[in-house]
Every structure is written in structure tokens, then in C-alpha cells.
């Protein structure tokens, strides 16, 4: 099986094409989404989950740290945004900053407690902390509104200094989410190809060796956790704007597991772009299969099981191998990887 590090880095120029394509798709989404029988709000939802999934993959795919409680940070971002609007002030920038900060602080505390763990113990601790946050959100009625959550969160207008854009329409919100998605894409792409990203990949491949090479491994694991929690917080803030509410359901183990499924199915272990395929596939499955049958989760679950059994490299990995096969070029790393598997 190939991994993220076997796929050579392509210069910004080489990825210019796909970037422009994604950009065009995003800009035109409000027109073509209803045209193919879907609805406007879906675009916003997908953009938000993409931010979450891409940030998550920094931790999951690049650093190889398997967090199964990441929904908690999305939820914390959502609550922070809502509480900020309701108790402090109504404002888009300050609300989103509060969401990112709150998720980052929660991630920093949890990260400090778990970054010395490895492998399955790391996963277990993330589950435990995720459940603690979820449970607290359910039980702290006076703050979070219990199982119903915070309701009636306003969508503040976007203040740009020279102009103010009303966010109450779904189209406006979609463009806001799309802009944040592009920012997230650019930031994360820079990050994973920076020396920092290389160290994370080294940790994934062999933590012991990375430590012997002189890196303070747990600082890097902690930083990866905090950064991905902050992206989750941003997604959460946007999510509570989109839903105009924040509720504990997004923090449950179920949701945290779904994001892992999306990233893996899409091929987050193989490619930076993997989570994009995964999120799209999930939402298409939900809306298209869900329209045909009540039990779409059964089919999605079976597909996921088949994927883990037969093609754990996901959609992106399959595409990558396909392109390689068509163009007939085989890299040394890939050959080595095939020999190993």
C-alpha cells in the first residue's frame, strides 16, 4: 500500500489546474447544485465538513495520530460561537475567533495530556476525552442547553470595514464557507509541505527514529493536535452559523467515527486531497442513497468495510494508481511499497 510520503510533492504550478477547477466549482455551486436536483444548503454543509476533514487529516493522515474523538472540537467551536453571540456580543469575526480559540484551548489541554501516548492508547484517550466533552455538553444544561442545545444563534453580518454583507441568506453563507475553505486549503497545503509537516510524517513512519533524530516528538504531536482542533473549531463556528444552533450530537462518538470514515474512504492516508473525495462521497451517499432507501447507512457501512478490507488507500489512492498505470510511469517508492505489501 502506498502512503502519503510516497506521493511526490508537486509544485504549486502543477497543482494550479486542480486548484482552479475546485475554485470554479465552488464559485458556481449555487447555480449547479439546484440544477442537478440537490439543494443550496448542501454546499455550505460540504464546505464546512471539508474544512473539518482537511484539518483532521493533518493529524490523522500526516502525523498518523488516530483521534476518534475529534467531533468534540467541532462541537466546542459551535458552542463557543453560539455562546459568544448570545452572551458577549453579536459579531462574525469575534465569534469565529472565539470558536477557533475555544477549540484550540481545549485541544491544547487534551493534547498535553495525550501526546506522550502512542498507537491504540492514543486513540483510546482521544475517545475518552471526546466522550467527556460530549457528556459535559449534554449535562451542563445551564450553559449548553442540554440535549436540545443552543437555539436561535444569530447569523451576524460580515463586516469588511468598507462594506457589510448580510449573512442571512444561504448563498452568502456558502460563499463565506467557501472562502474559509480555500484559506484552509492553502494554509494546510503550505503546512504539510513545510519542515513541520515533514517532521509529522517522520513521526508517523517511525516515532522512535524521529526522536533519535533530535526532534522533541511530543511537541510536534501536541502542535498537530492543537492545529487540527482549531480547524475543527472554525468548522464548528461556521456550522453553528449554518444550523443557527449548536447541539451535542455532533460531538458523539458516532460523528467522530464518521469523520474518520470519510477521511479514510476518500484516501486521506494517501493524498492531501483524499478527505475531499471522502466528504463528497459521504454527502452524496447520504442524499442520493438516502433518497432511495431509509437504510443508506447500512450500504455506506458495507462499502466502508469493503474499502478497509480491499482498498484501504481509498478513492485518492485508487485514482493515483490508475493515473500511474495509464501513464505507465512507476516510481521507485511505489515499487518498494508494493513489495512490502
Amino acid at each position: 500500500m502506498i502512503s502519503l510520503s510516497d506521493v511526490p510533492f508537486r509544485t504549486p504550478l502543477a497543482t494550479f489546474g486542480p486548484m482552479v477547477f475546485i475554485g470554479l466549482l465552488l464559485v458556481t455551486a449555487p447555480w449547479w447544485l439546484p440544477a442537478i436536483g440537490l439543494y443550496q444548503y448542501l454546499g455550505t454543509e460540504i464546505a464546512i465538513w471539508l474544512i473539518f476533514a482537511l484539518g483532521f487529516n493533518l493529524l490523522f493522515g500526516y502525523a498518523g495520530l488516530h483521534s476518534f474523538g475529534h467531533g468534540a472540537y467541532l462541537g466546542i467551536g459551535a458552542y463557543a460561537f453560539g455562546l459568544w453571540q448570545q452572551n458577549v456580543m453579536v459579531g462574525l469575526w469575534s465569534g469565529l475567533a472565539a470558536a477557533i480559540l475555544a477549540a484550540g484551548i481545549a485541544g491544547a489541554i487534551v493534547g498535553a495530556l495525550i501526546s506522550h501516548r502512542r498507537g491504540i492508547y492514543y486513540a483510546l484517550m482521544t475517545i475518552a476525552f471526546g466522550q467527556v466533552f460530549w457528556f459535559s455538553a449534554m449535562k451542563l444544561h445551564s450553559i449548553t442547553g442540554g440535549e436540545d442545545g443552543l437555539l436561535g444563534i444569530p447569523r451576524p453580518a460580515l463586516e469588511l470595514g468598507f462594506a457589510s454583507v448580510d449573512m442571512r441568506s444561504n448563498v452568502a453563507l456558502f460563499y463565506l464557507a467557501a472562502v474559509f475553505l480555500i484559506v484552509a486549503l492553502v494554509v494546510l497545503r503550505r503546512l504539510v509541505n513545510s519542515p513541520f509537516g515533514r517532521v509529522l510524517q517522520a513521526i508517523r513512519q517511525n516515532e522512535m527514529r524521529a526522536r533519535f533524530a533530535g526532534y522533541e516528538v511530543w511537541h510536534f504531536k501536541w502542535a498537530a493536535f492543537v492545529i487540527s482542533a482549531m480547524f475543527a473549531g472554525l468548522a464548528g463556528g461556521l456550522f453553528s452559523m449554518a444550523q443557527q444552533s449548536a447541539y451535542p450530537d455532533v460531538m458523539s462518538l458516532h460523528q467522530s467515527g464518521l469523520i474518520v470514515m470519510m477521511v479514510l474512504v476518500g484516501g486521506g492516508l494517501v493524498s492531501f486531497w483524499g478527505p475531499i473525495f471522502g466528504v463528497l462521497l459521504y454527502f452524496v451517499a447520504r442524499d442520493v442513497l438516502g433518497g432511495l432507501t431509509e437504510t443508506w447507512l447500512l450500504w455506506y457501512g458495507l462499502m466502508f468495510m469493503g474499502m478497509v478490507m480491499l482498498r484501504p488507500e481509498g478513492v485518492a489512492g485508487m485514482l493515483h494508481l490508475l493515473v500511474r498505470r495509464v501513464s505507465g510511469e512507476r516510481s521507485g517508492a511505489e515499487l518498494a511499497a508494493e513489495k512490502v505489501s
Partner: protein, 306 residues
């Protein structure tokens, strides 16, 4: 103290039931090196199979079904106790076959596959048995209240605790006093050596998974009259089981039992003072224990750490 006593008893009962669930889990982790997130779903399946056996299932409405429902509940219940775990074991073995391609890969893949399986099983339960809350009938002999020293207890809880304790002892005897148990323990310790000695490792794994699944099914039948039966129960149950084996130390038999009793007591005693936060206590316990001893109370180094 008298205020706490019923809560402590409740906690111990819960702990024994947790131990029964965690035993199957820890066996599978030990031999297979797979964290089986579908364990709770096998637990739920066991309970639903029992529901079908007791209620006549697919024969309801036919002559045979009428005759079957005419039998005393005790007979039907005992048959359910035998048949349902066997069916769970079948489901477990099927899952083991699905897990084969993930052998030798990172433990993450086993975890992910069983997570997918948990989703699938939950949906199958929704399809087959409906989404609502159901009731598992129990024999009248073990149902109803009992008065001890001025307190009213449910008879069923005593039955459940005694049954779990007996099952735990039986599993321990099986593992410690029979040659099969010796092979399983050896498989957990060093599977390569077991293979080198001429035992068929894939059969061993199939058997252990089936055995663990049947324990889960058994726990399901005994536990759901207390917890209630809904399709979602699998996820509710797998988390405590999971916390328990981590607190106890992965792969340790007595570690699992001790940790289960600790978790049960923690939940019971927290419940006495702050009912809403009872479930939270087990997460706090996990974070405390694992924060102090990274491999749990009785844990040794395991292959899952890489």
C-alpha cells in the same frame, strides 16, 4: 453508609455485568490484537436473538408458534440463553472472516473495520427488529422485588450478578484448567510460536472470536432487562467495555474483572450523589488511571502500541 449501601450493591452488580462484557473483549484483543468496536453490537444481537427465541420469532402466528408461546417462560428463557449466544458467535465468526485482510497491518484497520461493522449491525437490527425500545421477558422466578434488611431490591439484579459471577468463574476455569484455554493463552502471548508448534492459527482466531462474541451475546441477554433494549445499545455498551480493558490493562483477565468492578462502583457511588454525572465517572477514572499508569492496572507491553 446505609444511604450508600444500595448504590454500592447496584454498582457491584453493574461491575459484574461489565466484567462479563469486557471478558469477551479482552480475549479478542489478546489473541487477535484487534479492538473490536462491534463487540457491543454483538451484545445487542445476542439480546435481540433472545427476544426472537422467547417471542416465537418467525413462527409467530403459526401453529408451532402458538404451541411455543404456550410453553412456560422458564423453558423459553433457558433455550434463549443457549441459542442466542450461539447465533452471536456465528455473527462474530463472520466478522472474523472479514477481518482477515487486515491481519498484519496497523491495528487501526481492525478498529476501523469493526467500527464499520458496528454501523452495519445496528442498521440490520433496525431493519429486522424495528427502531423502538423493546422488552425482554424474564421468568417470574427471578422477577419482582425482594426485601432484605429493610431495603427493597430487584430480584433480577441478584440473578444477573450471580449469573455473571458464575460465567466469569467458568471462563476462568476454561482458560486456566483446560488444554484449549492453554492454547488460547499461548496464542495471546506469542502467536508465532503457537503456529510453529503446529496449531492452526486461523482456526484458533475463528474460535476465539466466536467465543468472545458468544460471551457478548450472553451478557446482552442478562443485561438488557436492566438497561433496556434499543438498536443503539451496542454503542452504549462498547464504550464501558473498552474503558474497562484499558483501565485493567489490555489482555489481562483479572485486570478486566477488577477494572469492571471499579467502574461499576464508581458509577454506582457517583449515582448516589449526582445521578446525571454517573456515566462521566468512568471517563474520569480512565483518564486518572491511564494518566498515572499508561498500560493500565495490570497491563504489559502489547503489540497494539505501535
Amino acid at each position: 453508609m446505609t444511604y450508600l449501601l444500595p448504590h454500592i450493591l447496584n454498582g457491584l452488580t453493574l461491575g459484574l455485568l461489565f466484567a462479563l462484557i469486557a471478558l469477551g473483549f479482552t480475549l479478542i484483543v489478546g489473541v487477535m490484537e484487534v479492538i473490536n468496536l462491534a463487540h457491543g453490537s454483538l451484545f445487542a444481537l445476542g439480546a435481540y436473538f433472545a427476544l426472537t427465541v422467547i417471542g416465537g420469532g418467525w413462527f409467530a402466528g403459526t401453529e408451532f408458534g402458538a404451541w411455543w408461546l404456550g410453553l412456560p417462560i422458564e423453558h423459553r428463557y433457558i433455550l434463549a440463553l443457549v441459542v442466542a449466544p450461539v447465533l452471536s458467535a456465528g455473527a462474530g465468526m463472520l466478522l472474523e472472516l472479514c477481518l482477515r485482510p487486515t491481519h498484519g497491518k496497523a491495528p487501526l484497520y481492525g478498529l476501523l473495520l469493526t467500527f464499520g461493522a458496528a454501523l452495519v449491525i445496528e442498521e440490520i437490527i433496525r431493519l429486522g427488529w424495528g427502531t423502538g425500545e423493546q422488552n425482554l421477558q424474564v421468568p417470574t422466578a427471578i422477577n419482582g422485588p425482594v426485601l432484605i434488611g429493610g431495603f427493597i431490591y430487584s430480584k433480577y439484579k441478584f440473578f444477573a450478578a450471580a449469573f455473571s459471577a458464575a460465567a466469569i468463574v467458568a471462563v476462568w476455569l476454561f482458560l486456566e484448567r483446560t488444554p484449549y484455554g492453554a492454547i488460547i493463552k499461548a496464542g495471546a502471548h506469542d502467536s508465532e510460536m503457537v503456529r510453529a508448534l503446529g496449531y492452526d492459527l486461523s482456526k484458533l482466531r475463528l474460535f476465539v472470536f466466536g467465543f468472545g462474541a458468544s460471551l457478548a451475546g450472553l451478557a446482552g441477554i442478562v443485561m438488557v432487562p436492566i438497561w433496556g433494549l434499543r438498536p443503539h445499545v451496542g454503542i452504549d455498551v462498547v464504550i464501558p467495555a473498552f474503558l474497562i480493558i484499558v483501565i485493567g490493562g489490555i489482555g489481562s483477565f483479572w485486570g478486566a474483572v477488577v477494572a469492571a468492578l471499579m467502574v461499576g462502583l464508581a458509577v454506582g457511588i457517583t449515582g448516589a450523589y449526582a445521578g446525571a454525572w454517573a456515566t462521566m465517572s468512568m471517563y474520569i477514572l480512565l483518564i486518572l488511571v491511564v494518566g498515572l499508569r499508561s498500560r493500565g492496572l495490570f497491563g504489559r507491553k502489547s503489540a497494539l502500541e505501535n
